[in-house]
Subunit: 360 residues, 4 copies
């Protein structure tokens, strides 16, 4: 519902881009989970790989402070409140375009729905909000780690350049989080070209979850695809999501699309994974494979036509400021966070993680 | 949650493929909506376009009975219970394969999760369950009709054959619900070929919702894409969903992907609709455009390798029976139903339909 | 929400007093629970102790039919749909008072809220709806039985006559479900006196739950008192609920109200139980003790002043028909059912019952 | 669910008594509600009437800071995050009793459930958490004010002393928030006597809501009594709640308990209000009247027997510190806040407040 997500493991986020601060409440994390001093910060830092040509030159410290729910280094089962203070942002450049609807942005829809909005930096619709999700996801990932579950997201396509292979070791080594070194170079080049033109690019991110046990998902309306899909489609700029063979399955025959079952080490597996780790809405134990498309960043320097909603006149806008030319490169950590939150929630709903305590 | 879907307009479905009956409770429909005797039946009938070569030769009468919530021809605001009796189905053919995991089916995951399941005809995981959704969707569509909102779903791709144009008038004229007459013929041919080979085909369905007012959707976790996506991904066999430009947006630049705003008849519109009617998770008033991929039907006559989960031995399976070679052709009405339910729910959540009564 | 109750163990009820049928969906019961043919019926029968002078002379067969969710004698984890057909009821007597607001009834509020209602027999607001709850409660009770949890409700006060002692063996032996034989006789006399005067009486019911483990309840908004209280206050005619010492605690000092802790058989207990088995919103392992007040039946033969909402004129009403002079004597099974549902739900939410399956 | 309460108007609270801070997120308040600088603070201040002999001598500044959701003096429809910093509290006295289970407290149940807890000052189970509810309630009250709805709570009984009359003007004039001046004096005396004995007293609070329109409440599981009851029973130390005639209705006959309908100024009313403003779970438009019993404060200086859960030995405890001898006198603002939240939520669910915006 609105700003709360999840059933047993729940997050509630708040805060606007240019407000005082942003934050998140994680509710339903069982007691007894060790959260080391600085762990969430490290996760956030890891996610903000510093200055890079392919990112906005903005520097956000994103110092997170944990205000509740952890006592003597362990969770208590109580809500975990985390806050990140916004630095004094310069809102002046938003002042002059406050009545201009930025194409591709939520200016129009927020105005239509609420009739009063914090227009500075996009307010609540800003991607800045996703930092709260990453902080919450850090708790979920730490919880899943105890059960051997690992989630990893990476960029497989940018501006038409596709990754040709998946080498997990490569992901953190390049600025575009691509698992294919050569493709990464081409992707970077495409981003810089767009940037020089005052334009932006889109891309595709793949998310994989390993060691998820068979049995997660609640048919028929909390199927794992439905809940993961909802989580991913709720992230800014995502316009599609697919699982396993995804849209490509439209072109396969049943005999080619079905994954045959086999036995391996006394466990039932499938030989192939076109089902993306989910059958009938329930996890099979095979890796969960999901892909999301992230549209090109809406904020571009290039001139676009738009409307001033006060005057109802046509105007031209050039969105100035230090924007990301490729939001897709910032996307993987957010996708990992939301995926971890869904899986933690379903682990509890399936009775595989005790919702009260990990102790005793 | 599980078998209940929605917030203010909610449905709860129940029933297994070969059980006594299936049904649905629609809760939260406002009082005063006129539901003519036989209306829901007509909707269900319309959806089961009778015998066709591209469908299973099975005949299901699907006579729906409304048991509550309607009085003197109008809804009362109370739960609307609808039931459809299953005809005596022959379960004998399922008896002999009850320990064989049908590839692509939910046999394995239901067994892993629940350890006891009604294996006959797939039980609850059967597509038969979706008849309940269509019945519930009929109520939602009737409600939306009062507000001028119309939802239409059609097949745009089967087995690699794509619709080249969208002619709404064509949809109901062909057996594959395709808006392109010529493509429809090729699609039919592809289906029959696969059928002859004991195989099946997949496809893509596009769903359009017209006259949806600007302002539906609750950021940041009940964005319209998230809730529609969850609804569509919760339908059997769907492995992906996309909005507007969808996955194609990965290959566009921001300047090409952004839809410019304009004023038309005193109303703000966008000139193009690559955003699919939703920006920032909120409807813009432009048509909502969504596409879903439906994998090829899992039940095929062709021999496939699988596992007997009792003996844990490898075996070969050939799924006999009268199966659909192309579940995609049965998909549009279900997609329309779930879309109508989500939009009705959001109309109420946005204060655009009174949740208690349409009267006075 | 409205007609659905519960989080992991959920019920959805539907149906009006004089409609075709009423029923309930139980969703979230784990797979593997044995439900013998006829068990739910026996529970319903037990609850309808046949003809008695203190009850309405109406005879309702309440034959329940289970339509889904049980296969080969065991639950499958799928929704359990149960239906009870209404016998052809005579609605003619409601026809003539359909515009008169029966004092104490929901006629006025349903009319004000929905502006269209099934006035026959109170429609959905009829106590008849509670039969669905009893059917659902039978499933919850069977589930809790496996964990040694027992719930029992009994009448401790009617028309000012109070039970002086609690002898569980007596409860089923008298027509008023009172655990005190002598008080039971006086209660019966008081009911018959009121009945002769064309009047009705109210009373108090105590509900006890034994062997509930320590640790149920989710502070701070799903405290066990809050969820039990919501369940009990949602039953027709209940106007108050209290736990342990209840309203009497207002007159005790802390030193008298606090229950001291002690150790018994290696387990921490309290010596007394003025806290009613719940501290800080979480069960202590001591018996849960709750009391509810049931107002006197609103339908009485005695003349009362009221309003005709069509004419807006004052009129006099005498509610004819075969009414219960003391709905309190029909209340305990409903209270047991709702209590069982809440405790089953919290057992799952606390990880003490696996929400998917009892097997393996 | 746990730390989130409400459906359309929702609050999520967090924070422990001796942690860094406490706070609340209000989600779902429509845009356009004017919240003046300092308004919430004034509400909190009003609630903390300074030093008084009947209260704990502790001084808590409770300076609230609004971090999001309000822009240029008006709500934006986005989550409103409010924070109150805890002063450096002395936790040393809790250190020495950290393994002793304080009778009447949640020490035992939190330990049993979570196995790890912040024992300082009761952690999350402390009444300090309720300051967050009062802050959230201030927003709800301001919203309801626009619709003429007013909520007022007052003490009607302390230590056996009952208010003999209700004079609203008196409530804020005495230290015990009693609407009867003479009773207030006796109540104060009773509190001081108990305090001198190292003991505490309990009491009863009545909550009245005026100008609530007819039609709020969602049968059959979100009846207004069920939701209000859940809200009130979720407040610390409450062990019972009743509506209108409440438990007294057990001793009335139907003819005396039913409230007759009449017409006044063209509106249907009841002549009396034993139904407490709610019939069939839906508001009638008459004042909503509710009472809650607050048990005597558990923390007392008097020696009590208890158990050390580490050693499992019997010990004696005397809870030192500056405790409230009568938590009941601090209760009314919390009850008002929770009542306002429930009513605001139901106003939206009944379509009487637009959930998105108050503007345009």
């Amino acid at each position: 519902m609105s700003n709360t997500f999840g059933t047993l493991f729940r997050i509630t986020t708040w805060g606007e881009s240019h407000g005082k601060s942003i934050g998140v409440i994680v509710d339903g994390c069982p007691a007894g989970l060790e959260i080391k001093e600085g762990y969430v910060q490290e996760e956030l830092d890891k996610r903000a790989p510093g200055q890079s040509e392919v990112m906005s030159p903005r520097k956000e410290a994103d110092k997170v402070e944990i205000l509740s729910g952890i006592f003597e280094g362990k969770t208590t089962g109580m809500p975990i409140s985390m806050i990140m203070h916004n630095k004094d942002a310069d809102s002046s450049k938003y002042e002059k375009i406050k009545h201009l609807l930025r194409p591709g942005h939520a200016d129009f829809t927020y105005q239509a729905k609420y009739m009063h909005r914090d227009y500075r930096g996009g307010g609540r619709s800003s991607a800045r909000e996703t930092a709260s999700r990453v902080a919450a996801g850090a708790i979920a990932k730490k919880l899943l780690e105890k059960y051997g579950i690992e989630i990893i997201a990476y960029v497989t396509e940018i501006a038409g350049v596709k990754a040709g292979k998946i080498d997990y070791a490569e992901i953190s080594k390049n600025e575009v989080r691509c698992p294919d070194k050569d493709a990464a170079k081409k992707m970077k080049r495409a981003i810089l070209e767009a940037k020089n033109e005052g334009d932006s690019v889109g891309g595709i991110c793949e998310i994989a979850a390993f060691n998820v046990p068979a049995g997660l998902g609640k048919p028929v309306y909390s199927k794992l695809e439905a809940d993961l899909g909802s989580a991913i489609l709720g992230i800014n700029a995502v316009k599609g999501v697919e699982f396993g063979g995804g849209f490509g399955l439209a072109r396969l025959k049943g005999s080619a699309a079905n994954d045959e079952f086999a036995v391996k080490s006394g466990r039932i597996i499938t030989r192939t994974n076109r089902h993306g780790g989910i059958l009938g809405g329930i996890s099979t134990g095979m890796p969960i494979i999901m892909r999301a498309v992230v549209k090109p960043a809406s904020s571009i320097l290039k001139k676009q036509k738009t409307v001033n909603y006060k005057t109802m006149k046509q105007e031209t806008i050039s969105v100035e400021g230090r924007h990301d030319p490729a939001t897709i490169v910032r996307f993987p950590p957010i996708a990992e966070a939301m995926t971890a939150i869904v899986i933690a929630d379903h682990m509890m709903m399936a009775g595989k993680i005790n919702p009260d305590t990990l102790l005793g």
